[in-house]
Symmetry: C2
Subunit: 334 residues, 2 copies
């Protein structure tokens, strides 16, 4: 395996995908730092809004590795200021591998491009260019400071990582979440291990809207909340032509709006939309959602279980593990 720019950027891409769906309203971004001798110091990602950007998190991990005695503040602004004062040139002539152009703007934290300049990096390898009005221009800041900027490596992969954010920014991002056993069955009890359900609830807690069909409502009577992580429940949309009992669990969740409609269009005000369901709802929705998040337990079912029936063909974007369970982000194959 060649140990080159692609290798290091791949580490950053993979680390970022672990948090895809969790960083809303921010993009999933990964960052790797190597020191002046090429030694790997950090593989980090932006994990959720309110936590450090990938570059800041990576800088913290790199400095922590080089000086284990440093105690870092956790609040991102304080962390940014602390690193600015205490980096002690330890990252001088380092290389930053970032999946997305470092931001140039003052958001909740100061610009990441300025941080990389402050740290004295020698080179920055940037996967995807940031075209958003408020954040673009990071590469220019780096170049003006004399940092060598390289682009065009794994751009396709970095853009795939970024696309959910871009879709969200241009209107809305929606994905169908499905949990299957190895044999494609999805009924007869809980499918995925606890770790995967916690992961799902984390994702729910940053969604605006969760969508199910009437079939799921009647079969499972789900809460559709984020109780496993004490998170905010998204609003719920039930797509059904049948009359719905107001005693259903979904109505019992506080601080949530529940909408019932016969059509399948998502209401315009929602921007980050998770769809859950089984075979029928997948068929109905598969042309309407942007991505698919499929969990796979390593069990086969007993006889008589239902299997998904659709002729959907997908392309894998990332596969990971959570507990004794795999998950993959997919798009439709063309």
């Amino acid at each position: 395996m060649a140990i080159d720019d692609r290798f290091y950027l791949s580490l950053a891409i993979n680390e970022a995908w672990k948090y895809q769906g969790l960083t809303y309203p921010n993009p999933a971004v990964g960052c790797v730092i190597t020191d002046k001798n090429g030694a790997l110091l950090a593989v980090a990602a932006h994990r959720r809004a309110g936590l450090p950007h990938a570059e800041l998190e990576a800088a913290k991990e790199a400095l922590s590795k080089l000086n284990p005695l440093l105690t870092f503040p956790s609040e991102p602004n304080e962390l940014y200021a602390f690193i600015g004062k205490n980096h002690n040139n330890l990252l001088k002539n380092s290389t930053f591998y970032v999946t997305l152009e470092p931001c140039s703007h003052q958001g909740l934290t100061p610009p990441c491009a300025d941080l990389i300049v402050t740290l004295g990096a020698k080179k920055a390898l940037i996967g995807a260019i940031d075209d958003t009005d408020k954040a673009k221009g990071g590469a220019q800041i780096l170049q003006k400071a004399g940092i060598e900027v390289k682009t065009g490596v794994l751009s396709k992969e970095c853009n795939e990582l970024l696309e959910p954010f871009l879709l969200w920014q241009n209107g809305s991002f929606s994905f169908f979440k499905l949990a299957l056993r190895l044999d494609g069955t999805y009924d007869n009890g809980i499918i995925t291990p606890h770790e995967a359900r916690i992961f799902t609830h984390k994702i729910r807690s940053v969604c605006d809207l969760i969508v199910i069909g009437g079939g799921t409502l009647r079969a499972d009577n789900p809460l559709l909340d984020a109780r496993l992580v004490n998170g905010k429940a998204p609003d719920a949309l039930i797509c059904t032509r049948q009359k719905t009992q107001k005693e259903a669990n979904v109505f019992s969740v506080k601080n949530r709006e529940t909408i019932i409609q016969s059509g399948l269009d998502f209401p315009k005000k929602y921007k980050n939309i998770m769809v859950e369901g089984g075979s029928n709802f997948l068929r109905a929705m598969s042309g309407r959602v942007d991505r698919f998040l499929i969990f796979h337990s390593y069990d086969f079912s007993l006889k008589g279980s239902k299997k998904i029936e659709t002729d959907l063909k997908l392309k894998l974007l990332y596969q990971g593990c959570v507990g004794n369970c795999s998950f993959g982000w997919y798009r439709r194959a063309f």
Copy 2:
């Protein structure tokens, strides 16, 4: 993510798993080298018998990165001698991360432990200890030469990687190969992409025996050879109680013995055994095989396809991708 001994050994473990099933009669082994400053130089694996051991392959890749002008011979003995003469102390004070204790014996190539000594490594991190009579003692060779040897990191994972080899050595290793769509169906045409079928044929070409049931013989009439890689076809065992037509394709393959029997026991003379089949044969064989190799295409099937019916529960050991297709090595969950 912490960049530590576990991180580097994980890179070696993952690289080795890519070639699990292909290295027979050798074990799957991975090796990572970092230089005196901790910079990553190589992530390599033993890819198949007759190609260099993981340590030799990693040394070649590391030297090639440090001195791109070197032209290496491909024959392993020549490569070993060449590296001994031309390493130019470039790997002085390097660290070797190996999933298995470096061999101490003269096999087809000289001992890997001696190579690591010759290169002047400072430290060796060893995942699994080699207890085989002919190869053990590599760690002692390193220690006598003043190399720091560390063990006990990711031993469980390194032993999982090694287990197919140990089972083979202690009698036989058998695994059930299955190809499924995302929905668990496996009929109605080819399931996996060409790359996955090439991978399967590579594995077949190093197996002694391929086993199918009468159902597969009658439904698919397969050749069960390794034609996609011009490899040797393994002997074939058909487990069936029904009369088998001698015109079946399996009999047409040259230089292969085909056995027909009603029982499910593997003949004693075979040591590396691949079992293929569908739902019924999986149920019959799942208690008899050591591991499961399951390919997953990212398609769903059309209506009316058969799905696997068993209540088997598995534990994932490794998941990888080949073409637009995932595969996993599994063991039974206890």
